[in-house]
Symmetry: C2
Subunit: 297 residues, 2 copies
């Protein structure tokens, strides 16, 4: 894949880390960044994340075709606004790093219709509680999964180029259609973030717990709570955007969880019953599911 | 604290790790272990976890008073059976490592009534997904919280000795009454284990997710799911015992979570509403709670 000029549109943790990875793996590539704030500009300059940079407000009517690769790493809502303005000719490959796929893919499909194009939607499955280009690291994408979603009329060669690009960056790839992506991610990523966030709020709202916590200078928690709360409350802007895009599947996953919580609660009933065997079966099933989902050999 | 003879009754991960820590910190102490299986006996011999060992079946009518310290590290249900048989005189200090406190403390209080005694219930907040004496490590308790619960009529000197014992082992201590302990732990430990377990089952039951997982040789998960699922399905015997002891508070914590899940789900309603501000407030509150609970400065 020829990579002389790359545009990274949106340079937070994800875009900034990709810039560092491109510096390492495609050292000849000239990187242009589009950012929202002057503060980001300074960080980008200090960390040498790009060769040129523009504020979003300065970057009007761009000549997209001058880039070999354009990467959209802003929230999905702003990607959706840009897609209808993209050129229908030229060889520029467009990708995004969006965490949901259905709205992006349907915007791409309705923009290009039957015209062959080079827009491949991608989702690198990584991140951090930290945000902004300050937190960028060169190996964020190494050994991580990047999901590739090919809209209708996308050329096969661009899909192949995007796959090679991500593999050179260090990720491993798999293809998913947009609906399967959004449903699967609701269960494997969005729901876990909701649960982690609500867990700390449920614990924080219990008076006895609150009192004991206030009376201790150190955390009254074991490793379980620590792990379960790591992602709580992180990056509200990003999550609000994801939830908005993926409401239907997220609601479904929450409903499934509520159903299982109700069933579980009723195994040790107010009538003093305690269905040990059923609890054991739930625990055993969880071990099987955990091994399968996490591919623990 | 004089520690010539210690009995560790039940030698799994917790008891075995405590034996290793006692070997290091009280090197003169002679350790006797009571175990359930021949298999454990072999591990204990190989790892030199005790100087003497008995099968539970061989350890009938013991002379408790020959020990300076007796540690019960079996499930709570079996501790409850032993408490009524303990001597009401002598200087032996009794502790347990039980994960719930109300049933133990009330058994101790009803056994000793107004007689001054040396039974202090303790709860070292640590563990692992692994079980058994094979998994024992000498530093399991280092820098971990050990909660001390003093039943009525316990002597102050024994409370003080037990505190010093755990601090020498390397833990930090705080006191809690049994009710606060069980309620706080429901929210900070028991509920997280339930959630982690049900999360993998909810994800594993979704057909789209299941299909994508089956089609991939590597995990389709980011760090969030990995952290949130670490404790899923671990140690069913222990958790069944804990849930049985702490049903009332666990039910309450599950009900609180279901309430918050329902409220959250309704923020992006089937009518297309999407209450961004309220989601943001929930996320901001979670950050505050997380910092307070985890004592993040």
């Amino acid at each position: 894949m020829k990579l002389s000029r790359v545009l990274i549109y949106g340079m937070g943790l994800m875009g900034g880390s990709l810039a560092l990875a491109i510096r390492e793996k495609f050292s000849d590539a000239e990187i242009t960044a589009v950012v929202r704030s002057e503060k980001s500009k300074n960080t980008i300059r200090t960390k040498n994340l790009s060769d040129q940079f523009f504020l979003e407000s300065e970057f009007t009517s761009p000549n997209w075709n001058q880039y070999d690769l354009v990467v959209f790493s802003t929230p999905v809502a702003s990607i959706l606004k840009i897609i209808p303005t993209l050129p229908k000719s030229g060889n520029t490959i467009f990708i995004d790093l969006g965490s949901t796929k259905e709205t992006i893919v349907s915007a791409v499909e309705s923009h290009y219709a039957d015209t062959t194009h080079h827009y491949i939607s991608t989702h690198p499955m990584c991140g951090s509680e930290q945000v902004g280009p300050d937190a960028a690291v060169f190996d964020l994408y190494v050994d991580k999964l990047c999901i590739l979603t090919s809209p209708k009329s996308a050329s096969n060669t661009s899909l192949e180029s995007v796959r090679l690009f991500w593999e050179k960056i260090g990720s491993w790839t798999m293809e998913m259609d947009s609906k399967s992506h959004d449903e699967t991610l609701a269960y494997l990523s969005h729901l876990p973030h909701v649960i982690s966030t609500l867990l700390v709020n449920v614990a924080g709202a219990n008076p006895a717990t609150k009192k004991e916590i206030a009376g201790s200078s150190k955390p009254i928690t074991g490793g379980g709570f620590r792990d379960m709360s790591r992602i709580a409350g992180s990056n509200p802007d990003m999550w609000i955007s994801i939830f908005k895009e993926n409401q239907v599947f997220l609601r479904k996953s929450i409903d499934d969880l509520i159903k299982q919580l109700l069933e579980f609660r009723d195994l040790f009933g107010s009538n003093g019953s305690f269905e040990e065997d059923k609890i054991r079966k739930i625990w055993e099933l969880a071990l099987v599911n955990k091994e399968e989902i996490r591919k623990i050999k």
